[in-house]
Amino acid sequence: MMTLIVLFLPFVAALLLSLVKGESVKKIALGFALAELVLALMVLNQYMIDPKALSFTCFWITSLGAHLNIDVSGISMLLVLLTAVLIPLIILSTFKHDYKNPAAFYALILAMSGALIGVFVANDLLLFYVFWEAALIPIYFIAALWGGENRIKVTFKFFLYTVIGSLFMLIGVMYLYLQTNVPHPITFEPHHSFDFDHLVALNLSFQEQCWLFWAFFIAFAIKMPIFPFHTWQPDTYTEAPAAGTMLLSGIMLKMGIFGVLHWLMPIMNEGFYANAKIVITLAIIGVVYASILAIMQKDMKRLIAYSSIAHVGLIAAGLFAVNEQSLQGAVIQMFAHGVNVVGLFFIIDIIESRTGTRDIASLGGIINKAPKLGVLFVIIMLGAVALPLTNGFPGEFLLLNGIFQYNAVLAAVAGLTIILGAVYMLKMYQNVMLGEVNALTEKFTDLTMTEFAVLVPIAAIVIITGIYPQYFLDLTQGDVDHLLKLVNTNIVTIK
């Protein structure tokens, strides 16, 4: 029941918000987001006591046998938490902007957060698909209504890309659905089902698993995005308004990773295993390619966009290496990346709104004018570089360790990310924050209270989860073990 409230509160909030007029809308939106955070923490508490109490099932579409079936696993708990933590921060980060038509803007953000939580807790494939697509509409409108100059073309490309991926997934969804055969909940006649447990129990042939794998994987790969499905990403991140970029990079790309973990791996495990090599290779090509491109970027937002591709590539490689280290690393890195990237995009937004540019070369010396920003920027950036004792480190270490167990050469190539990541991040920091103060940065003022209130929690998370990641690792340990058991038993049978 509690999960239901967490799931639907944002939608209700979005509806109410669209009726509000005037400036107060920001505060109301923040209030709802904080309420959502409190609820999410209560869910976390309940999860620790008894996870079973969090699942909920009722009929949704009887004619199709689809249920409103929601369930919280360790991984989804982590992602719900990530969403609930980031949404208030994202809303707070927009306080200094005066967007036209604010009611619609905040309503869309909240609706988006509801759909994201829906994706993470849905245990019925049709429900998952509906939320998956529903998450796209708000972000498309956010990016295309409040974005930059080229927004219309760029966001439409993004929209088409993701929808095309989803439609391939729809074919897979329907196929899986038609393979099931369970008694109808009312009439007890043989019927089909979208239920996760029924889908896992399916006996799919190897060929079926392989094409189903690609039908689902393309959708997930476009969302993440994995090389070569990434071409929408840098443009969209650059053109979207800051809040949109944060939503996209901080939470939405986790939908793809979550999809792989929650749906792809358990249901199509043979296909998953058979195609893992191709995917890992693509992902690692993406890591190196995006890192090199990030070094060449002149625009800070684009730089972080490419760095995001590199990070996600590593996470994806870890997913497909399928061992305990790599999976745990992927899960914790998902959380860390979400927090860091939101922080970085916010800092870029602060710099852009004060100096009017994101061009790395034309900035410099900001730290002299804004020491607080400088310190917080360093902490968050080091998190992204994965320095030990920051939140990026445990994940990256586990990921590389896991990939190494899978294949040493691939791990060596993937390891370049540590060096390249440090190069582009430090280069950016050096050029923007250090050096001589110039005309652009001369009047730079330090952080305001609201900005401080956004960045301090982020920096705190960076450090706390860097020093003590065990809490999150424990949260997802059970899930990871379960996944490994599922995949391994089946792989043994193929061999």
């Binding site: 004619s63 697509e133 509409i137 439609l167 729809l170 329907m174």
Partner: protein, 461 residues
Amino acid sequence: MITLVILALVGLFLMIAGLFDISRKAVFGVAMTGMVAALAGNLYMWDKVPMAYFNRMILIDNYDVAFITAVLGVSMFLFLLSENYFGKIQNYLTEHYALYMFSLVGMIAMISFNNLVMLFIGIEILSVSLYILAGSEKNNLSSNEASLKYFLMGAFATGILLMGITLIYGASGSFYLSGIEQYFTSGNELSPIAYIGMFLVLVGMSFKVSVAPFHFWTPDVYDGSPTFVTAFMSTVVKIAGFAAFFKLFYICFSSVIHYWVEVVSVLVILTVTIGAMTAITQKSVKRLLAYSSVSHAGYMLMVVLVGADADNLMFYVVAYSISSIVAFSVLMLVQEAAGNAEITSFEGLAKVNPLLGFAMTVSMLSLAGIPLTAGFMAKVYILTSVFNAGHGIVVLVAILTAMVGIYYYFKVIIAIYFKTATEERKLFTYNSSSLFKIVLFIGIIAIIVLGICPDIIHNLI
């Protein structure tokens, strides 16, 4: 039966009423009352023992009641938006209403037919009314062209259909569905003329519901006719056409499905592809909707292809009709204000008139099949049943064309929300009465509610 009689009487009454001086409101009131009474008479038949009339030429069971309800409901919905359309008609107002009533009579005969002659009569009553309505803007050249084109092409199709009916009669010795069904299921060797007849009927029906490659009349006729008539043709008429199409094939020819299933699947593939591909390049929203209606006809034809589950057809036509009507009603207002139906006329609509912009967006999302709208559930129902019947290629093609569909539907959404209106267009007043707003509201809510809980109408039949 009583439905048919009421509508026919109201139609006749309205024709005669033209002789007297009757206010516009009264005419509208009579027509609406007639439709409400007909709908009530129709709903009364729900869940009764199937009733036969006119020497069993008409047989009404739940299937027919459901589709007649859809036809009447959608027409009433549309009529609530008719103020601007009927307001502009100077002469022969009552005759216009009478023609709509007669076309409804034709549709009801088409839906509830139990005899191929009745089917033919129904189609003729409907078509003749539509030929006139298509040309009802007498001083507009394209309206005249639409009428003539529709008439010539329609006459051809009718001829082919009649030829098919004759050949089937020649082979089976019966006009009754049960007689034809018996002939086809008897297991005896079938006469070649039965097959030829079946395919001629297929072609004739495909023509009437604008299935490719027999769709060539559609864009010009839809574009040329007054927008209200276009909305009527592409929603109400389509419901009736497919109800008849499905019934005929489901009852008569399902036992020889292996003879026509491949032909129909090719027709489906052609229809969805041609509809979507030609819609891409359209600059006028009206033409775009015309081509999109061809593409949607392909989806409805899939139900015929599967040969089962009338519920899916019902849901699809309702979802499609509501979405289309919302789109057409916005189009009517924009067209009136801007003077044309180009996509550019929609630019910045969301700022100038948020309700119209939002309504159009919701209806485009539904037509494109985006989740949480009725259009998505309709597609899921139909595609799963097609997939289940083993037509994987059809599903694949349908999904690919859905991708194309998203492209052109979103062109309209982009124009509405992300482009800015010219100064001149900002000053347009959209002549939307409160009735109009209520109908748009109901339409939006219906689209979303059906998208979230499709069970409301899916399990009826």
